[in-house]
Subunit: 373 residues, 4 copies
């Protein structure tokens, strides 16, 4: 309950603060016998890590992960996997202002109200630095999705809107995602976004964005029926990401404006006689269970709260202050949210894959009933 663990059968717990000696994570529930080393995790961390472009924070962190338990001779043992990242760039600085001020849009005020004291250095526990450990846990979830039947389930993410600017879905190219600083699948849009964000930064301002995560290869039947629905768990998972303000599945809020005829995903048999949907308004989930189509979720991220433009606030003495956040901040936190959102989706799917094994859910299409039944 205490708020630092996530998942049911695939379950991880994170610990550590932005400027403490290390951040860490314990991943429990990983089946034995899977091939795993730091090399499976580090590339995902590198995608999330600071300092990779001018559109993300310039804090310098190697984000080098060590597996300290649960793996023996290159294979998972079924024991909990401990992951550690040492914090490198704990820049010694004067925290005087942030120590006392409640920065608008941050958790400073709410943590102070709840706890009475807080580790203010770099945001402490509420810093997005914690998400590095989610990415690490997500990389392990991806090993499960890749190695356990029905493999592989592939999770990919992209930024589909930045500061109110969208993209051309017709130009979607997954390969482009690795080619620009925005994880944007439309090269042209990425160029336009870069210009827009440059201007915002110059203005001491920041931008929000929308992340889309797509999982391919998800078998039909994953999820639970009423309260641990696949979509409910995805919503919970994504909404825990820093600065998240909205989640939608499939057509999402657009579906609310559709009518029933337009929103229906019709079914037919494919050439192998297997069930196929002719559209995917549902985003791959019906009644809380996966349909076998791609699972599609989108996540709204608010603009970075740390900006150079002064905002009025209070300090912990009840005094009016003006807050100006200098320093190394992402002008659009949605960008680095992409690998985090992928990780959380992978975690939810790995969890439900293990749940399906407990439930006896078939992981391949169920044979049609025969009429004699």
């Amino acid at each position: 309950m205490a708020g630092n663990s996530f998942g049911t059968l695939f379950r991880f717990t994170t610990f550590g603060e932005s400027h403490g000696p290390q951040i860490g994570c314990v991943v429990d529930g990983v089946p034995a016998g899977l091939s795993l080393s730091e090399a499976d995790i580090q590339p995902d961390l590198d995608r999330r890590k600071p300092g990779t472009s001018k559109y993300v924070t310039q804090r310098r962190e190697g984000d080098e992960v060590s597996i300290v338990s649960g793996v023996f001779e290159g294979r998972t043992t079924g024991s909990p996997i401990g992951l550690i990242i040492h914090n490198g760039d704990q820049r010694s600085k004067d925290y005087g202002e942030i120590r006392d001020q409640f920065r608008p849009g941050h958790a400073d005020f709410t943590y102070w109200q709840k706890y009475g004291l807080r580790d203010y250095r770099g945001g402490g526990r509420s810093s997005a630095r914690e998400t590095a450990m989610r990415v690490a846990a997500g990389a392990i979830a991806e090993v499960i999705l890749r190695e356990l039947p029905p493999s592989p389930i592939i999770v990919r993410g992209a930024l589909v809107a930045m500061g109110g600017h969208g993209l051309d879905r017709g130009a979607w190219d997954w390969d482009q995602v690795a080619e620009n600083a925005f994880f944007c699948p439309d090269a042209k849009a990425a160029t336009a976004w870069a210009e827009a964000l440059d201007q915002l930064r110059k203005d001491g301002n920041s931008a929000g964005g929308v992340i889309e995560v797509v999982a391919d290869g998800v078998p039909a039947g994953l999820g639970q029926p009423i309260y641990d629905k696949l979509d409910s768990d995805i919503a919970a998972a994504l909404m825990t990401i820093n600065a998240a303000k909205g989640v939608e599945i499939g057509d999402g809020f657009t579906a609310a404006a559709l009518n029933g005829v337009g929103n229906a995903d019709e079914m037919e048999a494919d050439t192998n006689g297997l069930p196929r949907f002719t559209s995917n308004h549902a985003g791959g989930i019906l009644g809380g269970l996966s349909t076998g189509q791609p699972v599609v979720a989108r996540l709204a991220i608010k603009p970075t709260s740390s900006i150079l433009t002064p905002r009025r606030s209070l300090n912990r003495f009840g005094e009016a202050v003006e807050v100006v956040t200098k320093g190394r901040h992402d002008p659009c936190v949605a960008i680095r949210g992409v690998p985090v959102a992928e990780a959380m989706m992978a975690i939810v799917l790995a969890d439900h894959l293990l749940q399906a094994r407990a439930d006896g859910t078939p992981l391949t299409p169920r044979p049609w009933d025969t009429k004699e039944d």
Copy 2:
């Protein structure tokens, strides 16, 4: 895990199918000594129940709830509260078609894939009939929010869009919500929606909608910091509601298109020296914890899948079929989703209120620090 329970300290489990003898619910974690009787629950059930207008299903259900345990001489005893509703209108009919067909937009196919067999009568377990028990559990949560300090926390809901038609927020009147068939706070919009929905029904079609739920009186500091965040729990709770496809908190997806200057909720001291925000883009939640402002969430509901217009699908023998859903269906399930959404919000808040007691979170504004600290 098995998917029929929700909550941590305030935890309920539902059981029962649409056309079984009864549906029921066990609510655990309710503190002892609270005043409770069926009269606290029935009015909420009556708001959700079928047959109240031509815009909701005409199935006739008294939805009379009985408390069968956990209450003694009018007060909760701390023991689990058992709630039972007997299913009345189990209209004997030929289920032949629904028995074998996978109705588009329903959970027929996914349940069949997961379980191999299903109670097809009226949708069985996946029917929205289950939501009656959520409303009952929600009414008990509301007793907690009303009776335990800092009381009262008030949860209210409304439909803010229907079939793509919005409303005039300037005309918002909570009292109007009880006055029309749409739980719409804008009387004029309600009239327009009625016309639009009449036409859709005539066309064998249906509509989606957007529900807004607002909680007033929530003290600052409710929630957990990383993974059981208040907004994450709200998202999970709302997303479990039948036909839900999206959730947002505060400005939600709109926030993703704002910039940091525009999205900042500034703070000041009120005339009592207490902290006050000058806007509420955040929807009352920062860093997973409540700010003391109203908590605001919105929920996208897809259009009713059961429509008279034929849609192509398969049956469980793998044969192509054409599905036409006759019978008593809500043309816009979002309408009856309003009391359900309120209930889920109340449940999440009651749970976090109990968590705050365990954590030692102060439920009134924390006194300002003194400079000597």
Copy 3:
């Protein structure tokens, strides 16, 4: 947390008080497709029910169970199974004394201290009547142990000591258990116990006892390694039974007095080359995991607290009182504890069987490694 649910993947929640209208139970996590009807449950309930001999309470209860959900056309659907028993013999009587008095050995004082009020009728929630629902849930667990691979796992229980009187293990005959009023596997001992208990009753006194539960057919590898160990879960399960004061696995407290040489369970290959232990001091569990041998647990039950001999106590007004418990009470509650203990063991094993499926634990002996490995 609220204390009315048990289990992880096989999870049940009970509700209801001794003299309320009904007691009930919701069993969640039962895989779909198992054959189940009331006829699978009723015989177990009949073994536990009151009034079957003069050594158990004479309260008259049919204890007729109804399945109200989760089963369709004779098979489990994967949905939660609701079970209801209506309370029949709610004898109208003057509860004046029990209402105010704290009966020694009962939960009257502790419930009053915790909750401030209590449903005193027949012990309310703390009555052993609740155990009827455990027996019902246990019967469903037994269906899982019987129908899912590696079937069958058989759970049996017996009373092995009564009022300090033991039995002759050499005369152990499982068939005898159904033949006497004590669930005693040694017919001679049963006769001697009957005499002893007759005398105790005549003296206004009561007896404790020791229950042994044995599970045959448990595959090696069930359990979790550190904190959800099979033995830890069994201990927790058995210790929840009313009047339980001790639990041991295998040689238990006797093992603490053994030395390492004498306590060692040596291994050898059987004629099929499969691993076999030459003794079972361990009670079938090593390192929290089953060994493939019979799982053996014993449970100490204190003597019935409700006795005719007056005992000094207080009432809720702080006054000294003398408590004499008249009425229909089991002179040795350990007797009816036998089917309850069996049920709890079956529940723990069913839960761990489902966990093993999630973990990918093989349910048959793992093939020996080859030397090239």
Copy 4:
């Protein structure tokens, strides 16, 4: 579920293997504002650590704990507390035999069956080395019991039997516990035990023992009523300790041989008019809730399985082998089990203290009802 976490509101997760680079623990649910440093934890670790006498393993470990998160400027922040101990004495040695053999009484065979592979070095995950982290978590639980109302709750443990040799309860002296190598409260018994254990070691043999843990200052009303009973949670907690085979509360198995008259704990008012029991057969728990008396539990520990006397077994190739365990082993693991048992008791009590806060359970004696009620 995956078996490496314990507790509900006070919840900790351990990770690490005997010969990995480090072992660690994350403690979640610790309220903010408590004073905490390594100095609160290290003394407890020092009591458990190897090498302190000839009756415990001679492995040399400093067992120096570092707090890596959750504490800021000497106070808990409400964030998860990460604890790390680096493994020092990873003696490089030939693990050839232990690598392949199934040592009798150890988890070698069961881990191999469940997981297929295992970190065999020093027992890997199943090594009692993991209990160092429980002691660390327990020290934090003790801070809660000491600092939060109603403070203080004091948990103490002792060895009350060793190798079948008991002690004189009349000579019980808590101060003696720190004075001998056995945590024995009776100095004479300790001397006798030393002789007996010397002889067993000389014979290549080992001894079991019984640990008693007592908690003073526990307020009445802690616990949950049916399935998370205080005694059930204590039983589960103690039974997770390596080599544990039995748990009893209060008179335990002895109570099963008592009669109802003799077992009754009568009540009276003390000179302040507060409730007092005249005896404590119940061990401080009735109906799953604490009575306000000392909570008393005993734990049976089997003799050390690692002995010099050869025992017959199998290896993972299915071959017969003779196992002789050389090296640094505790001749009586029950000794070092004492601080571990104390820790687990403290953890359960801290958890239930937080639960009581959520439930609204009063932590001081409830005022008597008045007759007008």
